[in-house]
């Protein structure tokens, strides 16, 4: 039997589950789980139980407090730390793990601000350790298909990108209930969410962002907006009898996983997963508009809305020989209350939070239908649809491929799917520069941040 690398997971929220399942399943021959780094015993117990279900031996795993990360790496001979803690702790956990001798796999975003990014880069250079950022969107077959179109040269050199992402009132609203609602914890959606999208664009265009201008604000969620619209008094959290009549209230008791990971864990750390989206404090934006110039000369016009009635995105890429358009409808509408039609989202079966619920099939005669469509049209020609080949598993087989790269490396990766630290910096830099632009009201140069971009 070949040597299995020893993994520890830092941060046992809902993001950890995909990695636990991968180590228990497809990658059990090359990876083994040896420890948790998590302050909350209830969440660790949840994952120990999950491991037992998945038949991973040696459970319960030893649990270490966050301040004992170095001791964990040493005592448990950890090769790799998978970091799925809240974003604002990434820089600390990642740099300490590297300095203690481990490689790191970190959920995007790499970190939330410039100081964190510079610290990670410094530790990386100092230790020579490996940092992988898991940009799972790249692996989604539709996004990979667009990459192939752009890379093929069929639409020529890219001159501009028009990109709109809409998050619906379930998924989008959820950022306003959790730790993400504070900018100092998440960097706002420009960092936490849009950096995903900025990564896609840098990757599609194979280019480096140069200058960023942004505008935006909190225009729907939050107490001031609710007050202005005349919403009356609100319950501070979603779990309660009122959730039966308020679609914005998330009742943690409605979902076994949310109940076990968060509601039952509250006694230990007081963290509430279900804060009311119309009760403060909320310091992040829900409408964002960004203009990004790229080094080779393209410009992107981007917008993110987090209170849409449906969820998906539309991206159009204009080139000197034609144009490509990708339209994705992930969820056509959001039923206000959990009900019979309210089944797990088929495109993200690994994402088991209640936030991904919605109708999996379209109602007969629906004017908006679920699906992906990639259309390419060259100058003077007709539009043609490019087939998107979906694989098995979550996100059209994208998750399985991503995990394969994380656990086995990417020897054969012609599209450059596997993201390294430079990709993490590139996408993060756009989010950071956009946040800065929101503050200063000026256009910000990305190079001015002093981050390594190539």
């Amino acid at each position: 039997m070949t040597h299995r690398r020893r993994y520890a997971i830092a941060g046992l929220g809902n993001r950890a589950e995909m990695y636990v399942e991968a180590i228990a399943g497809d990658h059990a021959d090359v990876a083994e789980l040896v420890a948790w780094c998590e302050p909350n015993p209830v969440r660790a117990a949840y994952y120990d139980a999950r491991c037992a279900e998945l038949d991973i031996g040696g459970t319960p795993l030893p649990r270490y407090e966050p301040d004992a990360l170095e001791r964990m790496i040493d005592s448990e001979r950890v090769d790799v730390v998978i970091v799925t803690t809240p974003d604002f702790t990434h820089a600390d956990v990642v740099t300490r793990a590297m300095r203690a001798g481990a490689d790191v796999v970190v959920e995007k975003p790499l970190t939330i601000d410039l100081a964190g990014a510079l610290a990670i880069d410094e530790a990386r250079v100092e230790t020579g350790r490996d940092v992988t950022v898991t940009f799972n969107y790249r692996y989604s077959p539709r996004n990979t298909a667009l990459k192939e179109v752009v890379r093929s040269g069929e639409i020529g050199e890219v001159t501009s990108v028009h990109f709109e992402w809409v998050l619906d009132t379930r998924h989008g609203a959820d950022y306003f209930r959790r730790w993400h609602r504070l900018k100092e914890q998440s960097g706002g959606l420009l960092v936490h969410k849009s950096s995903h999208h900025f990564d896609l664009v840098s990757w599609w265009l194979d280019d480096v962002p140069e200058r960023v201008f942004a505008s935006g604000g909190l225009r729907f969620y939050g107490p001031a907006n609710a007050g202005a619209r005349g919403l009356g008094a609100r319950q501070g959290r979603g779990t309660g009898a009122h959730s039966a009549t308020d679609p914005f209230a998330l009742d943690l008791r409605d979902d076994a996983r949310l109940r076990d990971l968060y509601l039952l864990a509250e006694d230990h750390d007081g963290y509430l997963r279900d804060l009311d989206v119309f009760t403060g404090p909320i310091t992040i934006e829900d409408n964002l508009a960004v203009l990004v110039d790229y080094e080779r000369g393209a410009t992107m016009t981007y917008s993110l809305n987090a209170h849409s009635p449906w969820e998906g995105y539309t991206v159009a890429v204009n080139g000197t020989a034609g144009r490509a358009e990708l339209t994705v409808v992930e969820r056509t509408c959001v039923p206000p209350f959990p009900g019979q039609d309210d089944v797990l989202d088929a495109s993200a079966v690994v994402d088991k939070g209640s936030v991904s619920r919605g109708p999996a099939t379209d109602a007969p005669g629906a004017v908006r239908t679920r699906g992906n469509r990639l259309v390419v049209q060259k100058h003077w020609e007709e539009a043609r649809e490019v087939p998107i080949v979906e694989g098995a598993g979550g996100h059209g087989g994208g998750d399985a491929k991503l995990l394969g790269h994380v656990f086995r490396g990417a020897d054969d990766d012609p599209l450059g799917l596997r993201a390294g630290y430079v990709d993490g910096f590139r996408s993060l830099a756009v989010g950071i520069a956009a946040n800065l632009s929101l503050e200063t009201g000026a256009a910000e140069t990305v190079a001015g941040l002093g981050l390594r971009l190539r």
Binding site: T159, T301, S308, N318, T332, E382, A443
Partner: protein, 441 residues
């Protein structure tokens, strides 16, 4: 019976001339042309004669506009001259005692804007700006959705406009290719779109940032892509088969108005889109903040394989989307030719077209399914808008519930976005509309 003069008898004049010779002949009459080129006036004289008139309008040079207004007792001038001449000709007409109907954009720069404000204040004359896009049934339907409050207060707008390689390319052949003449497409073309947003939202712009460049047309781009030497104009012997070349002889109207008129002023209507001298952009991105709090992300591309636009408007109670395909592709017609402007002529789909000519409005409220809003009407040029607009221009419409007739303030509020965006492009900084010192309210 109002007495009209037409200032600038290029192709833009035709819609007004035909309206006054036809549907609105009972309320208005053309008494003079104000135009430097006799051949172009000949073309319009022929239209007048064709409508059964024996007497044709009197002819004046632009420098004699005051004398024309006096001698011909002109009530209203219709200004369809090139954009950079708007401010001078229209304000001189007002000071000489005429009202003005003017093609958008109002003007191309700040100095022109100020000139309009002063002349309007000094003279008290009326100025009507013809924003025909407001009248397109689909755009009016979108206005109604937002006015109804169905999607709540607007928080953001995402708007993409595409001009195809026939219509879009055409700006790089004509006087528009020089920023001095047109102000660039952010002024000449986008001010139409900015007007729509101002009108849909019933709001004013407060801050503008823009980026963009000439990335497809022009000699440098062509050279970088390895295009060889090209003829300087599209009308060549033997005829070119290059789809980017416009041969004026293929269109009798272009022949009469431009090719035959060249000998008088040397103006070439068919310059090569990859020839030097282009100082405007072909890819433009603009971010606009509005006073009540919404933001607009806008982009214009002028070398698209299809023509149309998409706009998504997010509100506090839902979202509305309008998608318009004016021309889904540019395959040649059976005669081997292609129409210049899809929005004017009405494109016919090929069988099995993946992107059919279409228009669709979807409204979706929070927690509900989306539904399609029927668009009533919409046949004819510019989505059926031209006919109603002309009726309003020539017969008045003081109580339009949608507020479609646009006054000069509307013209200023839209052109100022284009002017500010152009300035932002140059300096790399956002431009605050307040800092421009124009009274927009």
């Amino acid at each position: 019976m109002r007495r009209y003069a037409v200032v600038g008898t290029g192709h833009r004049a035709q819609m007004y001339v035909e309206a006054l010779l036809g549907e609105h002949a009972d309320v208005g009459r053309i008494v003079a042309w104000c135009e430097p080129n006799p051949v172009r006036m000949d073309y319009y004289d022929a239209l007048v004669r064709g409508a059964g008139h024996t007497e044709v309008p009197a002819r004046y040079a632009p420098e004699d506009i005051e004398r024309m207004i006096l001698e011909q007792s002109v009530d209203t001038v219709i200004v369809t001259s090139p954009d950079h001449t708007h401010a001078e000709l229209a304000t001189r007409a007002m000071r000489a005692g005429a009202d003005v109907v003017i093609e958008k954009p109002l003007t191309t720069d700040l100095a022109g804007s100020r000139r309009f404000i002063e002349a309007l204040e000094d003279t008290g004359r009326s100025l009507v700006l013809t924003f025909n896009y407001r009248y397109a049934a689909r755009n009016s339907a979108l206005k109604e959705v937002i006015s109804s409050g169905e999607i709540g207060e607007v928080t953001s707008v995402h708007f993409e406009w595409l001009l195809d390689t026939m219509h879009g390319a055409d700006y790089y052949r004509r006087w528009h290719r020089d920023r001095e003449n047109s102000g660039g497409l952010l002024v000449h073309n986008s001010s139409h779109h900015f007007d729509l947003v101002n009108w849909w939202l019933d709001d004013y712009p407060s801050r503008v940032f823009a980026s963009g460049g000439l990335r497809f047309y022009g000699d440098k781009n062509a050279r970088a892509r390895g295009l060889g030497k090209r003829p300087e104009r599209g009308t060549t012997t033997p005829p070119s088969h290059d789809p980017f070349a416009l041969d004026l002889r293929d269109d009798p109207r272009l022949t009469a108005l431009y090719l035959d008129a060249e000998k008088h002023d040397g103006y070439l209507r068919d310059k090569d889109v990859f020839a030097p001298g282009i100082t405007i952009e072909d890819n433009m991105s603009v971010l606009v903040d509005y006073t009540r709090g919404a933001s607009l992300t806008y982009s214009l591309n002028t070398h698209s394989p299809w023509e149309g636009y998409r706009v998504g408007i997010n509100g506090t109670e839902g979202r509305v989307e309008l998608e318009v395909v004016e021309r889904g592709s540019l395959l040649p017609r059976p005669d081997g030719r292609r129409d210049l402007d899809a929005s004017k002529t009405g494109h016919v789909d090929l069988p099995g077209e993946l992107r059919p000519r279409t228009q669709r409005i979807l409204v979706q409220r929070h927690w509900e399914s989306s539904r399609e809003i029927p668009i009533v009407g919409g046949e004819g040029a510019h989505g059926g808008g031209d006919r109603q607009m002309l009726a309003d221009v020539f017969r008045g419409n003081s109580d339009d519930p949608l507020g479609r007739p646009a006054n000069y303030k509307d013209g200023l509020r839209s052109v100022v976005v284009g002017i500010a965006a152009t300035s932002s492009l140059r300096i790399g900084l956002p431009v605050r509309i307040d800092d421009l010192g124009l009274d927009l309210l």
